[in-house]
Amino acid sequence: MHVILARTWALACACLLVLGWAHAADTYEHTLANGLKVIVKPDRRAPVVVSQLWYRAGSMDESYGLTGVAHVLEHMMFKGTRSVPEGEFSRRIAAAGGRENAFTSRDATVYHQTLPAERLALALELEADRMSNLTLAPEAFARELKVVMEERRLRTEDNPQGLLYEALMATAFQSHPYRHPVIGWMEDLRQMRVEDASAWYARWYAPNNAVLVVVGDVEPAAVFALAERYFGAIPARPLPARRALAEAPQRGPRTVTVRAPARLPAAYLSWPVPKLERPAEDWEPYALEVLEGVLDGHASARLPRALVQEGRVAVGVSAGYDPVGRGPALFLASVTAAEGRTLDEAVAALKAEIARLAREGVGEAELARVKAQILAAQVYERDSLFFQAREIGEWETAGLDHRARGLRIERLRQVTPEQVQAVAARYLVDDRLTLAQLVPLPLAAEPARTAPDPAADVDIRHVR
């Protein structure tokens, strides 16, 4: 699962909710002399195009003390260049009937526009301009840093689920930079300077560290020509050596506790598992995808059925696995205890379901059901231009050839019940478990009042 911070909230939610894979057919690829890779997928259902520029620089490329800089720079990319003043990027795209935004993940920073197909040139021109001409004024930086701190308050400081997820990642990963939150630790944000953002920009924003993905009502040759016209003159730059980053093997269960204002106790669970590296040869990532479907693929799949519908020990439960990423993969689960039941009971019930699957295996009908859903999802996801572009970008960023996505359906079809059982038994075991538990605090008790406020208990009063 990727955590993605977008410039607007709704989009981030939409991105997180969409699951599945795009179809691999009919893409066209061309790499410019400066190293910019361009991938085009025509989809002519409406006169619309989506353009996404993926920089292979995300929070996993940050170092201690500088967490959050990838995301802060994403915000600064809208603050103007030598020829396009602050605010103009968004204004020109909107004037053309387009929408634009950006998001930062652990793996990448992505800038995207959706606009009438005949206006694609505008998006590419503006995007090429800010690849090398960003202004980065100290005063604009200081203002925007305040905005990012408000964003952190909204998403994390005041959001118990956000705090819990942050604690999970910081515990599940000990040595790998996936342990840093994408938005950064608050103290790092407070101390960040404009020079930090400039250094980041100079290090990573180069054509040879980017992939341009265009999906929509376009001719591939015309897109390649536009890319050459706008990006072609930007020189390639030497990129810093990327060290291989690994997570040290986990040698026993870990637990972390978050106390925050909330009502229902909840938990996140994670286990380190293999990610997809060789799409044609690997089998475990596909078996783990099917395992996710068996556990949580529909309203009465194993976890919701056992914990919510029958056992009534939880009011909500879920499982998740994303095999595509630059860093190590996790298998994730979450559970929210029902009223009158303890979190220990809910977590025990969840682990018991997984253990039962590892012990007894899965049925043929169950497996066929998951595969039918995967096949259908492959059709459904072609209804969204944005999603199709995002899938291509994620594969490329992870170092996988996006054309290998075509193999995925075939490889998923070949998964056997024994393989699903094997990955559950091998990986989803207590010695590899990280458990992050939310212990609810009553609203009134947190944090301590510094001075009594006589009006605080009165519901209605005037301010100012």
Partner: protein, 441 residues
Amino acid sequence: MLTYAMYARRLVLLFLLACLPTAWAGPVIQHWLSASGARVYFVQARELPMLDVSVTFAAGSARDVADKSGLARMTQQLMSLGAGAWSEQALAEALADVGAILGKQFDADRAVFTLRTLSEPRAREQALAVLQAVLAQPHFDPAILQREQARAVAGLKEAATRPSYLGEKALQAAMYGDHPYAMDEAGEIETIERLTRDDLLDFHRRHYTARNAVVALVGDVERTEAERIAEALTRALPPGEAAPPLPPVRVGAAGPVRVIPHPASQSHLFLGLPAIARDDAEFFPLVVGNYVLGGGGFDARILKEVRVRRGLAYSAYSTLAPLTRPGPFVIGLQTRREATEEALAAVHELLAAYLRDGPTEDELAQAKNYLVGSFPLRLDSNRKILDHIGMMGFYALPLDWLTRYPERVAAVTQQDVVRAFRARIRPEALHTVIVGGATAP
């Protein structure tokens, strides 16, 4: 006689229309009345081997009564948890076996079921048979009802710890007083706890009727097939009557600012009032005007001032939510507690200036360019087309509503915006709720 102003206006209009992608007028919408009495809207789309269907009923939370608030939503929730020949689990499996996805949407006006399925006949027929049973033959199993009541109550208790929920709920109650739109869609803890199976059966019998249904279809089927599907989905419903009209909304004077204490590090500010109906004569002036004020993201005055210039908030906006009766206009933002009063003052200042002067010429042109130019983006997937035709059908908007959208936006003048905003966004009627506070908790 053509005055200069009218002439200039027409020129702008012609120019904007000329900028539209030529020969793309959006999808072709077919419409008919099924033998059951349901209204049907259909767009054929053969590019992908799939079919999207929605069935909409006037069965939203505005059909609740105060002492059983939450009944409408609980009825919809239970309908898909066991129906016809299928138990709760068998129903979920029957859908999953063919890769179909059953969804629900719910608001004050509407209860909507959506179905996405592959268009090949085996998958399609199985998925549609399930939907048909969900609509007409829900079990309302008492044990499942009890479980869902407990889950809903737990959800409400959890939500009551969240500033955004507390603020929106308080604002909704303040804006709508004793109108049904004042009720929380999810109900109240005590009213949820008192719902019985008979309540659900009764609500279902009265509201889930063929004459109260709008069927929308988008996808890879022939017209004759779409006719058959729409008829099959609604044939087993009682004919019933169209839903009675909702009472009018009275917009009265707003009370004092309501402050709800909360320990969060940010205060959440909400300002709102009832403002815009679906069939509103001022619909387009309000939509265009709101783009400039707070709906247009980085083009909008609120985000420019509160976020970009002052760095006070990550998110700051104004929205319009048109409903059968006037739906809300809401300004919202979140800011660190110490900045609460500064942010509120900034919003008041922006709004006062906007009501006084309206948008500038440049701002108006920018709003129109965006709203006209982005027309194809609203319809670039089957799912978006489904949502639009389902909405148009429910609100009985004319079939050319979508295709005429750009020209209506283009026709809005500066004076239209000022008139509409002064009439609808009256500061003395604007309710204000702050969750958190101006000082450390």
